[in-house]
Amino acid sequence: MTTATQKIDIQKILADRGLDGCGREIWQKRLGEITPAEVEWALSRKPGYYVLDRLLTLVSPAAENYLEKMAQLTQQLTLQRFGKTVRLYAPLYLSNYCVNGCVYCGFNKNHQFPRTRLTIEQALAEADIIAKEGFRDLLLVSSEDRQFVSVDYLCKLASKLRTKFSSLSVEIYQMTTDEYAKLFAAGIEGVTLYQETYDRDLYDKYHPAGPKADYDYRLSGVDNFAQAEMREIGIGVLLGLSDWRLETLALAEHAHYLMKRYWQSRISFSFPRLRPAKDVDRRQFRLLSDKNLVQMILALRLCFADAGMTISTREPADLRDRLVKLGITRMSAGSKTNPGGYTGKTGSVEQFEIDDKRTPAQIASMLKASGLEPVWKDWDAGFLLPSGST
């Protein structure tokens, strides 16, 4: 474990580089000055290694004219590192009660709608349906509802789900290292926690209330679960809140820091773009085009050869069909983003509208038709059974 004296935390790294929003104008100016010759030079280097300046070049406006070349390099590199495979997973939403006031989210505490929480029995019934569709990789999702979706609740649920699913991960509210360690001991091996935006000012604007309103607290969250030895460390920004080019730089710095410090865990990136949600006015956001999204994915892949890259059913089917050849290694299928959505027993509110509504079987067929194997299982619960239990 790193000692306190060696500690260079991510807050300091971002502040020193001016990537927490304080150097916004300088970075934007530098991005605008990148020349085609610099892009060509960056693309002539061996792909797959991270250097901030190289990433800067790849996310620049000048690089937009080199997307085909970037795509070809990305496809080659992803094929070499991951083979002809794409992992499939399904999310299971547990609760839409929330204490946070995130401006962009359908579950915002200020929104008036009948909230839903699943009991452990109800969650297991949902999981049964997901398992029958073939999934062995399950993502548990909840808004910040500590009262109900407590650490204890999650541990109990995980211990019951482990017989059906080989991999369990969570996208939930932020916890302490000790709490994450309890989840890990219960069989949860991956956590994704989105910074949403690395820009402090915008972060404050979009997170006006609740525990999530504290930027620095949020930023320390990934260290907490990495220290709890989680194997899969998921990070990302909510695309649409800030300038995606600067967000990509900050995200990469965060990833680089995590990879050096927690060398036994695998980093993965997710790419959620803002979606329509109940009572959310999207006109206030900077929505990303498909072209922007693709450039971001390609640029990150060309700097992080082995990072997992996830795309959800937020994205439209025709785009997802193309992204599986452009660096994406994991995708959801047949998702319901409302608690109880799989059993259909509750008419509850969803976090956001999904776009790709195809069934898991249809997604699997699409992958096969593209020469890719849909991988349902890429982990085994046997790795993490408590010692002596065999």
């Binding site: 070499q80 083979g83 080989s166 082995d306 890719l372 982990w379 065999t390």
Partner: protein, 257 residues
């Protein structure tokens, strides 16, 4: 006959195949068939070892091939041992390709944990084939605890760089009492041939075949290369030299008295 013998079991083929990264289990099975391999390794994390209908397992004819489970994904000796025990309990298979790779990026094997796990597993009656860095002393230590082979990497797994650790692998081969299987990084048939010419007993290939545009054809390429390299080794190939050598330029004047 020139057979590969591992733990008293005879094999005609000196090519082992890994099953990851293929576009489908069907293509994988066809490539394995074309390669002539008799040992096929499967990542336990990818399959449900207890399920006979598992897509990947069902594609491997167990009468024809030795199914060699591997512990890919294990970060510690504990995890690898636990997974091996679960597998044996569920299937009766007591062969294991031991992989302990705590670094998820280069997937380099942890020598300390690998040795620890090997010692435990051998004592419990497993036939252990450990994946290791090309480290001659570690190879000897593993042989001392009773592993059935040693499997040094040619270069980092999946990297297709060929044999970068040549000098160390030469020492491992020279000193080995068990078969030496060059395991990772071989990207072309010529790399496999090179390993065999050096005197490796076998090679294991996965990425280079699975990610080729035509995996079945590439499998044939590797089959032929392994055979060619082996024949060259057995035929006592002359040592290479950087210089031309005239016959006895300095001592030709000496005559037998």
């Amino acid at each position: 006959m020139d057979k590969l013998i591992i733990a008293n079991k005879e094999f005609n083929s000196r090519l082992l195949i890994g099953t990851g990264k293929f576009s489908s289990s069907k293509v994988m099975a066809e490539a394995v068939e074309a390669s002539g391999a008799q040992i096929v390794t499967v990542a336990l994390r990818r399959v449900d070892i207890t399920d006979k209908n598992d897509d990947m397992l069902a594609a491997i004819d167990r009468d024809k091939y030795l199914l060699l489970p591997n512990t890919s994904g294990a970060r510690t000796a504990d995890e690898a041992v636990r997974l091996s025990r679960l597998t044996r309990a569920a299937t009766g298979i007591n062969w294991v390709k031991l992989e302990v790779t705590p670094d998820p990026y280069y997937l380099l094997p942890d020598p300390v944990e690998t040795l620890k796990a090997a010692e435990i597993l051998v004592k419990e009656g497993f036939i252990v084939l450990p994946y290791i860095n090309a480290d001659p002393i570690l190879s000897k230590r593993l042989q001392d605890v009773g592993t059935a082979t040693v499997m040094p990497l040619g270069s980092p797994i999946g990297s297709n760089q060929g044999i970068k650790a040549r000098a160390a692998i030469e020492i491992i081969i020279e000193q080995a009492n068990v078969p030496v299987v060059v395991d990772a990084g071989l990207g072309l048939p010529s790399h496999a041939a090179e390993a065999m010419e050096m005197g490796a007993d076998a090679v294991l290939i996965n990425t280079a075949i699975a990610t080729a545009a035509e995996p079945v054809k590439m499998a044939v390429g590797f089959k032929l290369a392994v055979e060619a390299g082996r024949i060259a080794y057995l035929s006592g190939a002359a040592d290479q030299s950087k210089r031309a050598s005239a016959s006895s330029p300095l001592t030709g004047f000496l005559r037998n008295e």
